[in-house]
């Protein structure tokens, strides 16, 4: 198989199959929801939709979103050749209906029709550290526009929400974002949060949190405690699936902290909808073979 064909299969599976950690979490939410409620109806529809998409090999959600590639490759890997193969895979996936035509010229409104254009898709390359196998680790996230639009960035202190420059202030900012996102981002959702950084890197790192499995634990004790607390508190707000009211508002919250300027204190929050499209592969060094599927 060529690198392009392997990336096409990565895109197909990302679009049509839910990652296990998220689907299990959604099924748990369904079991725990009050019976004969609109919230239960929403979660039953979500369950049926996950099954149908995988069976038919069609997109889970019609908004196949921003196409975000995260690539760890050993020294010597040709990034430009990788990008070319990925772009060809994206165009083919669009023609086959695994991806919606989702790249629009911001000035003319013209849809490119194949998901290619300035800024789309996006690539995040990093060099594998010492001790890594000579293999290419490719992770793909498809992030829909509805959930992207409810992302929020707070600059602390923020007197509107009484948030100071401390973890208690971060908690207020994150919970305000949950309140404001209700209904618009398809819940139950998952949050990726970055404390610190600048306006661009803060959002960038917040999205990278979505690469973490839902059931992992944060190695930093303060952040781990905050992650658990945010989920517990959000699930007491009664927002529920799709904002219909109900028990499960968040499935998870993943937080990182990076250094900031003395003058800046950003809390950047990305929201991922329940249709969490995330897949990964480990490729042989030449890109020709899928050694392993991730997630």
């Amino acid at each position: 198989m060529s690198l392009k064909d392997n990336l096409l299969e990565l895109i197909r599976r990302a679009s049509v199959e839910m990652p296990d950690d998220v689907s299990q979490s959604l099924l748990r939410a369904l079991r725990e929801e009050e019976k004969k409620t609109t919230a239960e109806f929403a979660l039953q529809t979500i369950r049926a939709n996950m099954e149908l998409a995988a069976k038919k090999s069609y997109p889970i959600c019609q908004d196949t979103g921003s196409i975000l590639f995260y690539v760890h490759a050993p020294a010597g890997c040709d990034h430009l050749a990788f990008e070319d193969a990925a772009r060809a895979a994206v165009a083919e996936a669009t023609a086959k209906g695994f991806l919606r035509q989702n790249s629009v010229d911001s000035l003319t409104g013209k849809n490119s029709g194949n998901n290619l254009g300035p800024g789309t898709p996006t690539f995040h390359f990093a060099q594998s550290g010492a001790g890594f196998q000579p293999a290419i680790d490719v992770r793909l996230i498809l992030k829909g526009g509805g959930c992207e639009n409810v992302g929020a960035q707070y600059s602390l202190p923020d007197s509107h929400i009484s948030a100071d420059r401390d973890l208690a202030g971060c908690r207020r900012a994150i919970l305000d974002a949950v309140l404001q996102a209700q209904g618009k981002g398809c819940g139950p959702g998952i949050l990726g949060v970055c404390i610190g950084g600048d306006r661009a890197t803060g959002y960038g790192f917040s999205k990278e949190q979505f690469l973490r499995p839902l059931d992992d634990r944060n190695p930093v004790p303060e952040l781990d405690a905050l992650e658990q607390e945010i989920v517990a508190t959000a699930n007491k707000l009664g927002i529920g699936p799709m904002g219909f009211g109900g028990k499960t508002t968040l499935l998870g919250c993943k937080i990182c902290a990076v250094n900031r300027l003395p003058a800046s204190y950003f809390v950047s929050i990305s929201y991922m909808c329940w249709a969490f499209r995330r897949r990964g592969i480990v490729l042989s060094a030449d890109g020709g073979k899928i050694e392993k599927w991730l997630y």
Binding site: I60, C61, R100, G145, G238, I239
Partner: protein, 187 residues
Amino acid sequence: MELKTPIPEATIRSLKVGDLVEITGLLFTGRDAVHKFIHDGGTLPVDMRGAVLYHCGPVMLKEAGAWKCVAAGPTTSAREEPYQAGVIEKLGLRAVIGKGGMGDKTLEGCRKSGCVYLHAVGGAAQVLAERIKKVRNVHMLEQFGSPEAVWELEVEKFPCVVTMDSHGNSLHKDIFAKSKAALAELL
């Protein structure tokens, strides 16, 4: 309850927040570009009087000369809030389907014009595409591109929940107020 298009105003007025409904008949898709176009004075090449508008940008494939709907869940409706009430009145819509709910202006528009807001489950593109039996036509495809075009979809038992009725009630408004109060207690 099954609703067949065109839906009479009396039936729309009888609907209440929380009702589960299934639509059979014709849906027209229309989202950001369509709303702005109508707001700016544009006229669509199709009569939507009494129709149901669906906030949706589907995935469509052309197979053997015919359009096939591959995925078709709702998009976030809040973006159309500045335009929706005017569009309901101008086009004579009886129902709008979307997700996430809309604001006070649309709620008032529903009351005035005899319209309801129906919520389909967001992200459920396959469950909803299964209920689309035929793609009858498409308008404005060249101008707006596939996700923003006006697609005419024949549907059978398309499932939705009434979340904003024609009597001034909104589930979204209620849940927002309750969750805001709950958060204030927990902060």
